[in-house]
Amino acid sequence: MTGPAFGLDLRRSRTLIVGLVVVTALYAGFISVFYTNVVENAEQFESLLDAYPRELLVAFGLGEGSFADPGIFLSGYVFSFLWPLVASITAIALGTRVASDANRGFLDVVLSTPLRRVNHLLGSIGTQVVAIAIVALAMVTGVFVGDLLIEPNFPEDRVALSALHSLAFGAAIAGPTTLLAVVLLDRGRAAGIAAGVLVVMYLFNVVAALAPDVDWLSSLSAFRYFNLQGLIGRGEYPISDSLLLGVIAVAGWTMAIIAFRRRDLSA
């Protein structure tokens, strides 16, 4: 019975997914086109950025290195900037749907049919995975389309693999968010807490980059494990980071299913 639940959830998500696909692909394509200019004017760009406080650059994911490096360029302007925002929106919007359905009474209706709770939640989780994957592919497709228009080109295979790591990052947000939604059964609170935790983790990452004595803070941040400079620039896929993010996602979803199976549905 997961099929009908998945189908309905995906159908309900189509507007969100299409909207995010369009925005993400357009933004990624638009930025990618500027890579040629950045390469040709790398020195001027770097001297321009030198005028800004380092804290500000770090806060926006622009650390050390040359923007002529495709890894630093794409990571700084697309993956580390655009994707955390888009992935968070997708994961929080879809991860909290079970709470939203509880709040509007729809959960009572579907769970008073032969549909089992596990199947209902699996349908929702399936939608989260598919939606995050579609938007990640749209981002990479945007980069590819921009890439067609410029010279030199990006390393396409590495850019393509970035979608996989981006999916892991989005899933690592979605899993715990789903657990929060199941535990709280209140969309507003679950979404607020998830967004708050993400902001705190982002700040941890920035502070750790600025102050080496509190570097340990970055290990508490999901953003620490979402860095694609090495993959795109040097072809080093962050296997351990991907696995860690995947484990967090699966653990969140699994705990959500366990909690939801026997949860009293009073909010």
Binding site: L8, T15, G105, F106, L111, S112, R262, D264, L265, S266
Partner: protein, 310 residues
């Protein structure tokens, strides 16, 4: 007849908020059972507990002999439920939502069409664009599609216009004729009076009365106004279950309950010019349970005063 629903000292508490306490009742097969109470009395909590959505704090409930919490999925294979606000998925059309719920209940596609046509529901309109009454129709259609042996309705007809309410009552009647069971939570008293065999009244989380609707009506006072050609003799209404409220020379207002025959035989001996009897509707009875602080003063023929709680 076997009991379809059995609740025994069913209790659900939400910590500091009141839920339900020691609710005990049964619903028999083929019965339409009305569950009356104002908002916040515990009707929806009772229903959600019966549906296995809430875990009982104490007590036990069974549907089809199965425990409502432990065996919920098996119970759900044989029931149809609609909540008080069925505007669940505004982004879908009414037909899409009905198809989805029908699919979950393993009904053939389009099982809802016949009921939708009776209620004049346009299935092609997005639910968010429907009026309140039409949204309510989506819920009613959802409840009555298919042939589940048990239909659980939580305030299903609020928002329906009088014509559609009549159609709703007709649907309930057909379901009863077919031997199916209906649990109808409502604060629409005329609806309960017309459609239910028995009624349970819940107040502040506790079931305070269970009775056949007719017995509930019969067991309560009828108001009788009489005009006589000549003043009736003293003690004319010293009868069991008759209480005089007020009397002037020729006008008498009295209350009668139970068997009317002794009273009517006494009237036949008197010179009655005019007579009106007002039977209490279920709303009066319902209010009696909710308005214990408003006693009605009734004097008997000898002038004794007696308070009868209305």
């Amino acid at each position: 007849m076997p009991s379809i629903i059995e609740a025994s000292r069913l209790t659900k508490s939400y910590g500091s908020r009141r839920g339900i306490s020691d609710v005990t009742f049964t619903v028999e097969e083929g019965e339409v059972f009305g569950f009356l109470g104002p908002n916040g009395a515990g009707k929806t909590t009772t229903i959600r507990t019966l549906l296995g959505l809430l875990r009982p704090t104490a007590g036990r409930a069974a549907i089809f002999g199965l425990d409502v919490w432990a065996d919920a999925p098996r119970i759900h294979e044989r029931l149809s439920y609609v909540g008080s606000d069925p505007a669940y998925l505004g982004e879908l059309t009414a037909g899409e939502q009905l198809d989805y719920v029908g699919r979950l209940r393993r009904l053939p596609k389009g099982s809802w069409r016949a009921v939708a046509e009776r209620l004049e529901l346009d299935p092609s309109v997005q639910i968010r664009k429907l009026s309140r009454g039409n949204r309510q129709k989506v819920g009613v259609v959802q409840a009555f599609m298919g042939d589940a042996p048990l239909i659980v309705l939580d305030e299903p007809s609020s928002g329906l216009d009088p014509l559609m309410q009549r159609e709703f009552l007709a649907l309930v009647s057909e379901v009863r004729t077919a031997g199916r069971t209906v649990f109808l939570s409502s604060h629409n008293l005329p609806e309960v009076e017309r459609s239910c065999d028995r009624v349970g009244i819940i107040r502040e989380g506790q079931l305070i009365e269970i009775s056949p609707v007719q017995a509930l009506l019969a067991g309560h006072w009828r108001s009788v106004n009489l005009v006589f050609g000549a003043p009736p003799p003293t003690g004319a209404f010293d009868l069991p279950n008759v209480q005089v409220v007020s009397a002037t020379a020729r006008d008498v207002h009295l209350m009668v309950r139970g068997d009317l025959n002794p009273f009517l035989r006494r009237l036949a001996e008197l010179d009655v010019h005019d007579l009106s009897i007002t039977t209490p509707d279920i709303e009066d009875i319902f209010l009696r349970f909710y308005d214990r602080d408003a006693p009605m003063q009734v004097d008997d023929a000898a002038g004794d005063a007696e308070e009868v709680a209305r």
